[in-house]
């Protein structure tokens, strides 16, 4: 089992003729993802690794129905691309593009909420459910993915794309497989953060434990700890918090308003303290993730 998408999920790629998209389209197809079509306005009739290219999402879906879209277009075009996908009934959107203006992200997330659709990213490498599918660039070519990922009971959600693969690799080299591994995206506001994903892992019968990769800044870790304390989430959660040295550096200054919204939060010290209060296990060193995970399997 996997969360978000499975072997039946049909996928289109918006911006399929772009340099990065051409590469990850091949990697996705090689890995077994059901990529059924691509969209680049004005390039109808071309093919990318055997995948037909259309001018619009509507045209693509008419010939090849799909449930999910991976979007890799220039930042200024991302909002339009997401709205186009949502407007045509796509209900899982993975936004690979980086440097998307925050206002645009908020606008398409608002539209996604209205349509009950899910967005991963922006600024994500994507997700992998080992030996089922991968969406986006995550893990790279199929031979690399096969070395780092294997199926199993651990769900991974990470604020760093590279560390998604690194955690999977750590587990795999220690004989522990993964259910679904998600890079949530590096932006301050993303479509699916830890708070959104933990309930999905909890509902998934195959996922026995979730591993989170956390970084300084933002308050999502603190909010997750509050949620765990309030709602009795049964799924064991293991967190690794990177960047502890950042606490000791002259930090980024917040404006008054940011301070009010986020309180005195955002430091790794504060996140770790909140996790411990909530009973979320914190891995002191990166390798400790293995030992702690084994306790729950």
């Amino acid at each position: 089992m996997a969360i978000l998408a499975d072997q039946n999920t049909r996928v289109i790629i918006q911006g399929i003729t772009g340099r990065e998209a051409v590469t990850f389209t091949k990697d996705m197809v090689d890995y077994g993802t059901r990529v059924v079509g691509g969209v680049t306005p004005g390039k109808k009739g071309q093919q990318v690794h055997g995948i037909p290219v259309y001018d619009t999402v509507r045209q693509a879906l008419k010939d090849h129905p799909a449930e999910a879209s991976v979007i890799s277009v220039p930042p200024a075009l991302v909002k339009g691309a997401v709205l186009e996908a949502l407007g045509n009934g796509i209900h899982l959107v993975v936004v690979v593009s980086e440097r998307v203006p925050r206002k645009d992200t908020l606008a398409f997330l608002e539209a996604a909420r209205e349509k009950d659709a899910r967005v991963i990213g922006p600024n994500t490498l994507g997700l992998i459910s080992p030996r089922i599918l991968k969406l986006g660039m995550a893990g790279g070519p199929v031979e690399d993915v096969s070395k780092a990922y294997m199926p199993g009971p651990v769900g991974i959600a990470s604020r760093s794309g590279g560390m998604t693969t690194e955690i999977a690799n750590l587990l795999t080299t220690n004989g522990i497989g993964q259910s679904t591994c998600i890079g949530v995206g590096g932006d301050p506001v993303v479509g699916s953060n830890f708070l959104d994903l933990i309930p999905l892992f909890e509902k998934d019968p195959e996922t026995k434990v979730a591993v989170l990769f956390c970084e300084p800044g933002g308050i999502i870790e603190e909010k997750l700890a509050e949620r765990v304390m309030a709602e009795d989430i049964a799924l064991p959660i293991i967190a690794f918090v990177a960047g502890r040295f950042v606490d000791d550096m002259p930090g980024v200054r917040f404006g008054h308003a940011a301070t009010i919204v986020e309180g005195d939060r955002g430091t790794t010290r504060g996140k770790i303290a909140m996790f411990q209060k909530a009973g979320i296990r914190v891995a002191e060193s990166f390798s400790d993730i293995v030992m702690i995970t084994k306790e729950y399997l």
């Binding site: 998307v100 590279g162 308050i219 308003a257």
Partner: protein, 393 residues
Amino acid sequence: MRLLEYESKEILSKYQIPTPAATLISKGGPLDIKGPVMLKSQIPVGGRGKSGGILEASTNDDAKTHIEYLLSTPLKGYKATQILIEEKMQVKQEFFMAVTYDTVIKAPVAIFSREGGVDIETLAVREPGKVWQEPFSVRSKLPQYRAREIISETGVTGGHLLGLAAILSKLADIFLDYDATLAEINPLALIEDGRLVALDCHLEIDDDAAFRHKELVQLGEDQSRFEASRQVTEFERKAAEIDKIDHRGVAGRMIEFDGNMGLIIGGGGASLTAFDAVRAHGGAPANYCEIGGNPSVQKVAELTKLILSKPNVQKIAVIMNVVSNTRVDLVARGIIKGILEAGKKPSETVAVFRIPGAWEKEGFKILTQYGVTYCDRTVSIDAAARIAVENAN
């Protein structure tokens, strides 16, 4: 990017939000003070009032002395090149209003308090009921009736409710129109004659939206707006130059530290992890950096040479997460080239090389040729850091 107070206020004026009568002067500018004025240092940082960046004057002589002081004294890491001279207002009451993003509920949020001023954060903690915040829609914005709903929750009624709501609604427009991540007026003052006037304003613009605001990009590139007294170090400046050698990959975010362990680490999350791990095992990093995106051999070589040019650095630890885009062999080549060009022996200089992933076989072959010990993917990032610290001692 944070706009200066006067730049923010120019935008308020475009939206008909009243600000005090003001002039902006730089060093040696002519003065014509008639009555009490506030002299405000234009630096991109909060807490100016408390740290002496805002002074009062009533005569040309006073003003001249104060301005000379403000232009020559660094404050919170910045030195002003411009001073805003504003008419001093007779304030009856101060309010606070702001618009920012709530990253958890994923919506813009409008905030209002009846008690503005410098201690707004402590008020929010002490009496959260006095600071009211509500999310609103990016697409339908914050109409005045919504602004009234928010403001009236704090108990404000009477004639000023309409005026305050109009300003909060306009502030939300500015926030959205300018792609701000923060738009704050604090304090918004009710003055003796009954007018509402924005005494200070803070706008932060989303760097990722800069392409929609060319005039703000130009502003950001203008080095004459203020001086940053914490200059980047010579080492950091050289690293930034190396990153510009070509467009292949990133060798960036270099930060200099005092330690003796040179670090070539990447990408973002792995760099944070590796740096922590080196410290946890008792190592003292000489630098932080983030490489990734498949940097060229030359970039890595130059970076290696730069780090080795620090007099106390004898060893370099090379640690990245499992890579799929960056090529292990190219990084290995760069490291070896840099060490040789620095006149050192690769086998004695590399404390650890731990980059598994794309083209690792080729990379490991090169490292073996030069007698450099390396780790494969079965050695975790923190185990690699421990090995590096042990090898350095």
